[in-house]
């Protein structure tokens, strides 16, 4: 690998980590809300995660590309685990969406009327399911097939 190629992979590793940190902090910030607003906090956490599914996947891909290229099989294993952990977070969000109380909170806070609420819910659920499928697929792929040596 050339020095430049190695540096390009480091760029993606660093950038992916910052993107995931950004989203993680956006999701966790509502925990600082007062305890009587716990429902609103859960709703804000769900919204922060489900409106950033694209960046979750892109950030994780950046990390995976960097780790796989720089650290070979070990990097593939770690990034595969990262993908599966992130998929777990999205599955948690889907469970929260289909749970009656949280679904109500999400819909209330994102939409002024029932029709808009249904669309918002459908969009959020679709994003979460697509993100989960992508992350599980990539994670398993990296864990199973990531040990092969890269071409020089």
């Amino acid at each position: 690998m050339t020095d430049q190629a190695s540096w390009a992979f480091r760029i993606w590793l660093f950038a992916g980590a910052i993107v995931l940190f950004d989203i993680a902090t956006q999701v966790l910030i509502p925990l600082s809300f007062p305890i009587e607003n716990a429902a609103a906090a859960r709703s804000a956490m769900l919204q922060a995660l489900l409106s950033n599914v694209t960046f979750v996947v892109l950030g994780a891909m950046g990390i995976a590309v960097g780790l796989r290229a720089l650290y070979g099989g070990a990097g593939a294993r770690w990034s595969g685990l990262l993908f599966l952990v992130l998929a777990g977070a999205l599955i948690g969000a889907i469970v929260a969406l289909v749970t009656n109380a949280d679904t109500g909170i999400y819909v209330q806070s994102t939409a002024p009327d029932a029709g808009t609420a249904q669309r918002a819910l459908a969009r959020a659920a679709t994003s979460a399911i697509a993100g989960t499928v992508a992350l599980v697929g990539l994670g398993v792929g990296l864990l199973v097939g990531g040990k092969e040596e890269l071409p020089a």
Partner: protein, 173 residues
């Protein structure tokens, strides 16, 4: 990797995608913070908060831009990007100082029950600015020091010396 670099297609493709991301995100940010009211602390504070929502896409655009520059390997372009990134890092540290002062001022203006949220949100934005400044500085220094034209790693770089020695031996005998 070498084939992709030679074709130049990937480098130009990445550059165009990066520019589209920059134009899109800067447009969205301008829409959120316009009109400019630099003298008002609350506007400065909320503007940095609004900018923080654009950090991730801008960072991914920057990663694409840097990758394209690395593939192109043009000395002037690498140096120009290096200088821009170092200046960006310094500017972000300046923004961080201003943001901290504005945050202190905003804490006096909000209700007590909103204070924990404001503190946590401010800390998040400050952490992101620090991380982005670190990324910019690192990238800037690397770009300014980068060898030009996709030079190979140390082992490959030593090959011509070995070849030269072999020829010398052949001539001597």
């Amino acid at each position: 990797m070498a084939e992709l670099k030679r074709s130049g297609f990937l480098a130009w493709g990445l550059l165009i995608v990066a520019l589209v991301i920059f134009v899109d995100q800067i447009g969205l940010l301008t829409e959120a913070i316009y009109p400019l009211r630099l003298g008002i602390a609350q506007w400065r504070f909320t503007s940095v908060g609004a900018a923080s929502l654009r950090f991730s896409p801008l960072l991914l655009g920057d990663a694409l831009l840097l990758t394209s520059a690395v593939f192109m390997g043009a000395r002037g372009w690498l140096r120009a990007l290096g200088v821009v990134h170092v200046l960006l890092a310094v500017a972000m540290l300046g923004v961080l100082v201003l943001f901290a002062l504005d945050a202190i001022q905003m804490r006096r203006a909000v209700r007590l029950d909103l204070l924990p949220g404001l503190t946590a949100g401010s800390a998040r934005v400050a952490a992101m600015v620090v991380l982005l400044a670190a990324f910019s500085l690192w990238a800037g220094i690397k770009l300014l020091r980068a060898p030009v034209g996709g030079q190979e790693s140390r082992n490959r770089g030593q090959r011509p010396l070995v070849v030269g020695a072999a020829r010398g031996e052949g001539e001597a005998s």
